[in-house]
Symmetry: C2
Subunit: 430 residues, 2 copies
Amino acid sequence: MDQDLQTRLLNAVDALFDREVAFLSALTAHPSTRGHEQSAQDFMAGALAERGLEVDRWQIEVDKIRDLPGFSPVIGDYEDAVNVVGSHRSITRKGRSLILNGHIDVVPAGPLDMWDSPPFEPHVDDGWLYGRGAGDMKAGLVSNLFALDALRHLNLAPAADVFYQSVVEEECTGNGALACLERGYRAEAALIPEPFEEKLVSAQLGVIWAQVHLKGLPTHVAYAGSGANAIEAVIPLIAALHGLEERWNAPGCRHGEYAHAHHPINLNIGRIEGGDWASSVPAWCVFDMRIAIYPGQDIDAAKAQIEEVLMAAARENAFLKNSLPEIVWHGFLAEGYALSDDTSATAKAAIGILDAAHLAVNDRALDRMAITATTDARFFGLYADTPALVYGPRAEAIHGFNERVELESLRRITKSTALFIANWCGIETI
Amino acid sequence: MDQDLQTRLLNAVDALFDREVAFLSALTAHPSTRGHEQSAQDFMAGALAERGLEVDRWQIEVDKIRDLPGFSPVIGDYEDAVNVVGSHRSITRKGRSLILNGHIDVVPAGPLDMWDSPPFEPHVDDGWLYGRGAGDMKAGLVSNLFALDALRHLNLAPAADVFYQSVVEEECTGNGALACLERGYRAEAALIPEPFEEKLVSAQLGVIWAQVHLKGLPTHVAYAGSGANAIEAVIPLIAALHGLEERWNAPGCRHGEYAHAHHPINLNIGRIEGGDWASSVPAWCVFDMRIAIYPGQDIDAAKAQIEEVLMAAARENAFLKNSLPEIVWHGFLAEGYALSDDTSATAKAAIGILDAAHLAVNDRALDRMAITATTDARFFGLYADTPALVYGPRAEAIHGFNERVELESLRRITKSTALFIANWCGIETI
């Protein structure tokens, strides 16, 4: 790219940046938790249509993706699970095609009284935009969009097909991204601006969710032995799972990208509910767990190990041995993915172009980062032979309270993205 | 009482027994969990009115009982908390007055799939009547009523005022019985047919409920240290409470009635709820606990000890020490009560008459039992100087699944109760 075009593109991002922040604020105001993404997707579909993209909007059908690799068992139905894709069809088609992917779903806000201001009433303070989902990852959806806008502002467009994706289900299954694959969307690279500190994600972990159900025979507490309490029976199971977590963190188990990580595999007991009445011995308890796995670690083997430690602990428990827990696998059964393992020429080219774009904007090299979470990148990388670059702005407290994204970081990512698109796809005049 | 009258009374109970079982079945079909007692109370008020009793039906007003001894802090409002009392006014008033007390509220059914048949569709099988509340304590409400019916069947009535009480709130506060005291209902003795194996309850424990709230600052699990999880932070608190439970069970702490009991003080963690999302580190968790105290043990001192062990454990916990738990006292703050400590002539007389009635029906002496639960007896015994006899039928799985009451036991209790009424109150002809 000539220096002049580069400068004009960066200036265009600056020129549009107030609008970009306003757009992010408006998008963050949609409380698009799982099952409630519709208004946010309406907003996105409208924005894509306004820009002249060809809008495809469809409800995910489980039957169409159930047998595909990477599918995760579903929580609830998909009546409200709607993906939106806006397609730019190049006239010249002289460059390389690209998927710009982001997820519209956000995790629950948690207790409102722990937020300094309401989670779905975004506001800007001291250079940060606050709100649930602002960082994870509505800022990324917005940087993808306004990078395209910067080209359009100069009467330019990518010289290859670009598919702008706003997907659901990233936070619990990834089935939104999988449904895009099933619908036929393919490109030579994918960019996903998840909020990882303006670094290129070289590897991501897989994630497994399980729901563990405990049941037993309770009675009036007056006759209770302490061993017959379904809530307390959870305690040795959690301890056993932490044992597995430690074994998976041991040096011999690790993927090379995580050789020096502090504690890459984290177990989380994320939800619990049990019992009906303070004076009735609880007969039931259910907890939701999340644990990570390495790239290359087999999902079925990992599930078997989880089941094995839970059942072994249950068999040693006076209450549980007669009433073994039931493990329900729904939600993530996600493999790990390492971009750094992709030695293809396409991957090298895409990474090289992103390196250059980052350098041009920041005047320093693009760092790599092996993250301890998952993203939708795995679908492109593992199941569509498409290198997936995860590269997004700096955010804080994602999944926590007072989640926020740094606006100057968003500006830089938008700029790098605009340069990446121009160099990867090439440009044509509108 | 002459032998002839005794025989005629016992026969009258037999003659009415099919109707009694049908009545119990109809009453058990009302799902009178806390806040939903209205239809059951309608049913009771109707039955009392049919029998010519003067029916008093009123909503509990918290402001009227808040400052009375024995009051427990309230869960929710009392819009639907309605007591029913049917008064028999004696013409001759030559005997001793009596309160026949029972509670209409039942504890939650718990997961329906753990019941062999629906909890509020009572049925009789092999001499037992099944259903939530059948034993605890609708059978007792019914035995009280049909004991009076047996007299009426012979054109007799008690020769003293009898107040038949169907109260709410026994299972969480006792404020229903307290409201009866506040409304002015007094008598020389009280009978409460709680389901304790046809034994006379010589002592009962007090009960304290507390709700413990934990909060903290969570984040995405990818960055979680295990010390920052509100659900797991519950574990050391439960352990600390079990430590207190063991100290209270130590020989030196015990009331004499519990000197040889196996494990009189039971801690129960009865409910738990925490977290919002499997992949978010839980920021909050709430659990409900119940623990017992001995007769004579001071409520405020017990509360202080509970608070002390919880806070000491919290201060040793990396997560909790910066965010100490909040303890909410709502529900039971109930003192223990020992009928055996009541050395009054009235108590001796009442016990003697019940002993004789039981012997006449069963041909063996009435056993005593120190129970490890609480009942509304404490209000009469501690706050109204009225000996309260807890004596009711054999039931199983109260607060559990497939709760049931033995029908022949109900028949015997109804008979003993009829004899007790006739001898305590005396009789007059209608």
